[in-house]
C-alpha cells in the first residue's frame, strides 16, 4: 500500500496529537506547527503544515485543546442549566447558541413562546450575529496584516454588546432565553438606543468597506485564495456565509424558519459566486448590514404582551427527540435533543458550525502559501469554542 502525502501527514498529526510535543520530523520539506498558541488561530487550534519552501504540501488541523465536553456535561444538568453552558460554545455570538436548544426543548414540550418573546428573541439573535461578525470584519484584516480595522471592530461592537448587556445583563453570556419565552422584558429606552447602535454599525460597515474591502492589497491577498466549489463545500458540511460565498443560496432563517420571526420582515440572503476568501468576507459584510436592517424593522413592530408562555416551574420535558437548527453567526447550529421525560436531557448532540467549517481545511490548504493559510483560516472564520465544544 502506498502511503500518500495526506496519509503521512495524518500520521504526523496523529503522533503530534499523541505526544503533544513539538514536531521535529525532518523530511525533504519542513513541518511547521502553526499553533496551538499562535496569533492567528484565535484560540488554540493547531495546524500541522508540511511545507516545501513557503508552499504548503499538506496541512492538518489538530484540535481538542479546549474541549470541554458539553455534550456530556449537558446530560447531568437540567434544561435551564444547559443554556448556561452552551452560551460558551460560540462566545462571540452567545445568545444565538441558546436559541436552537431552547427551541428544541420547546418543540418537545409543545410550547410556543408568545409573540413578544419571539420578536425580542429574534432581535437579540441578530444582535449577537452583528456582535460576532463585526469582530470578524476587523479580524480578517488583522489576518492579512492590517492592524487598525480590528480596533474599529472592537470599538463599534461595543455598541451592540452594550445593548445586549442592557437587556440581558450579560455582555457575553446572556443566559436570557428560557423555555417558553424570555427571562425578562426589555428595559425602557432600549429600542431607541438599539436603533442608534444599528446606525453606528452601518457607519462601521462603511468604514470597513473603504478601509479593507476596497483596498487593493486586501483584494490581492484574498481574491482567488481558498476557492471552495459549492458541492465540495456542501459535502464537507460548510454552512453560513462560507457556503453562501460559494453561490449556494441557502439560509435557514429564510428556508426553514423555526420559532424566530425572520419571515415577518423584509430582507435578503446574499450570495457571492466566487467562493474565495474575498467572497466570504464580502458576504459577511452584507450580512451585517442586512442584520442591522432586520433589527431595525423588528424594533418597529415588537408586539406587546407577555414574554413567557405558561410553563411549569420545574421543567420536565416529555420523552422524544427533536432536532432544531438555526442560522447562527458562524453557520448552521443545531441541537439534537433526546429526552426521556426527565429533568435532564438524555443526550444532546451539538451540531456546531465551526467544527464542520474547519473540517474542509485539509482539502483547502493544499498548495497554498504560508500567508494564505492564515487568510483562509481567517476567512472561514471559526471560534475555537465552536470547534471544540
Amino acid at each position: 500500500m502506498t502511503v500518500t502525502e495526506r496519509q503521512q501527514l495524518s500520521y504526523i498529526a496523529a503522533q503530534a496529537a499523541d505526544a503533544r510535543v513539538n514536531l521535529e520530523i525532518e523530511t525533504e520539506g519542513m513541518t511547521l506547527n502553526i499553533g496551538p498558541q499562535h496569533p492567528a488561530t484565535h484560540g488554540t487550534l493547531r495546524i500541522v503544515a508540511k511545507l516545501d519552501g513557503e508552499q504548503v504540501v499538506a496541512a492538518e488541523p489538530v484540535m481538542g485543546y479546549m474541549h470541554r465536553g458539553y455534550e456530556k456535561l449537558a446530560e447531568v444538568r437540567t434544561y435551564p442549566q444547559v443554556t448556561t453552558l452552551i452560551n460558551r460554545i460560540d462566545w462571540l455570538g452567545s445568545f444565538a447558541n441558546e436559541v436552537p436548544f431552547i427551541l428544541a426543548a420547546e418543540r418537545l414540550m409543545e410550547v410556543e413562546a408568545p409573540p413578544r418573546a419571539q420578536w425580542i428573541r429574534t432581535i437579540l439573535f441578530e444582535l449577537s450575529r452583528i456582535a460576532n461578525i463585526t469582530l470578524f470584519l476587523g479580524d480578517m484584516a488583522v489576518q492579512v496584516g492590517a492592524i487598525t480595522p480590528v480596533f474599529f471592530a472592537f470599538r463599534d461592537r461595543e455598541h451592540v454588546l452594550n445593548q445586549i448587556e442592557a437587556a440581558t445583563g450579560g455582555r457575553f453570556h446572556p443566559n436570557f432565553d428560557r423555555i417558553g419565552g424570555l427571562k425578562d422584558d426589555l428595559p425602557a429606552g432600549w429600542i431607541a438606543e438599539t436603533r442608534q447602535a444599528m446606525r453606528k454599525i452601518r457607519n462601521f460597515c462603511d468604514e470597513i468597506e473603504e478601509l479593507v474591502e476596497g483596498n487593493e492589497i486586501f483584494q490581492a491577498r484574498t481574491r482567488g485564495i481558498g476557492v471552495i466549489p459549492p458541492d465540495v463545500g456542501l459535502s464537507y458540511g460548510l454552512t453560513g456565509a462560507n457556503i453562501r460565498a460559494s453561490g449556494v443560496d441557502w439560509d435557514v432563517r429564510r428556508d426553514s424558519p423555526c420559532g424566530l420571526v425572520h419571515n415577518q420582515v423584509d430582507w435578503k440572503v446574499w450570495t457571492h459566486p466566487d467562493g474565495d476568501s474575498f467572497a466570504r468576507f464580502w458576504v459577511r459584510m452584507q450580512e451585517t448590514r442586512e442584520a442591522t436592517k432586520i433589527v431595525d424593522q423588528l424594533l418597529d413592530g415588537i408586539p406587546s404582551g407577555p414574554i413567557m408562555a405558561k410553563v411549569p416551574v420545574i421543567i420536565k420535558v416529555p420523552a422524544g427527540e427533536a432536532y432544531v437548527e438555526t442560522e447562527n453567526p458562524l453557520g448552521v447550529m443545531g441541537y439534537y435533543v433526546v429526552s426521556k421525560g426527565d429533568l435532564f436531557p438524555f443526550r444532546v448532540k451539538i451540531r456546531s458550525a465551526s467544527f464542520s467549517n474547519v473540517s474542509i481545511t485539509p482539502w483547502l490548504l493544499r498548495g497554498v502559501y504560508v500567508p494564505d493559510i492564515i487568510t483562509i483560516l481567517g476567512s472561514l472564520y471559526f471560534i475555537l469554542g465552536d470547534i471544540d465544544r
Binding site: 474599529f152 442592557a166 453570556h173 425578562d184 473603504e210 487593493e216 406587546s304
Partner: protein
C-alpha cells in the same frame, strides 16, 4: 472601480479617525485637542464606566430574607453555593403569640472562582434574597479569596440598583428591591 484607489480611501478613513479622536468637538469650531473625549476608551482606574442596572456583576445577598431553603444551591449548575443553617425559636411577633420557628442562616458562601454568572440562583430564589449588582470590582490576587461569605455578599446589597422600568408594550411586573 472608482477613480480613487482604495489605498487612498483607506488612508482617508484612518486619517479622519485621528482627527476625530484628537478634535472631537468639531461642530463648535474648537481646535483644542481633547483626545480623552474623542477616544472610545476610558482611563479605567481614573474614569469608570457605569454598567447598565441589569448588568450581572456580582450576586448580593439580602440576609434577612434568606431562609436557607437551599434552592439556589440545588439549582446552581456549578455547585458553587454553600449554605448551612439551623432552626431557632424566635420571639412571637404579636404579644401573647406563640414563639415562631425560624431558619437561621449560618453560612452562605459563593465561590466566585467557580461561578459562571448565569443568574439561575437569583431567578429561583422564592424569597427575594438574592439580587444582581452591577458592581464588578471584586478581583482578588489569590483564587481562594474569591470565596465570598455572607457578610461580603450582604455588603453588595447596597450597590443593587432599583429595577428599571420596562419598555412600552410590556406587561411584565416590576420588582422591588427590599431596603437593606
Amino acid at each position: 472601480m472608482s477613480l480613487v484607489p482604495g489605498l487612498v480611501k483607506g488612508l482617508k478613513v484612518t486619517g479622519t479617525t485621528v482627527v476625530r479622536t484628537v478634535f472631537p468637538k468639531r461642530g463648535m469650531r474648537t481646535l483644542m485637542p481633547a483626545p480623552s473625549k474623542g477616544a472610545a476608551t476610558v482611563q479605567y482606574p481614573h474614569v469608570k464606566e457605569a454598567p447598565p442596572p441589569r448588568a450581572r456583576g456580582v450576586i448580593a445577598l439580602h440576609e434577612g430574607n434568606c431562609t436557607a431553603c437551599m434552592l439556589c444551591a440545588r439549582e446552581c449548575p456549578d455547585w458553587c453555593i454553600y449554605i448551612e443553617g439551623h432552626k431557632e425559636k424566635a420571639p412571637p411577633r404579636r404579644a401573647g403569640g406563640k414563639p415562631r420557628q425560624v431558619n437561621i442562616l449560618d453560612r452562605f458562601d459563593i465561590d466566585y472562582a467557580l461561578c459562571m454568572f448565569c443568574g439561575i440562583c437569583v431567578d429561583v430564589c422564592p424569597f427575594e434574597a438574592l439580587f444582581w449588582s452591577p458592581e464588578y470590582e471584586f478581583a482578588e490576587p489569590r483564587i481562594a479569596d474569591l470565596l465570598h461569605d455572607m457578610s461580603r455578599l450582604s455588603e453588595w446589597m447596597e450597590t443593587v440598583p432599583e429595577f428599571e422600568d420596562y419598555e412600552s408594550g410590556s406587561v411584565a411586573k416590576k420588582l422591588k428591591v427590599p431596603p437593606t
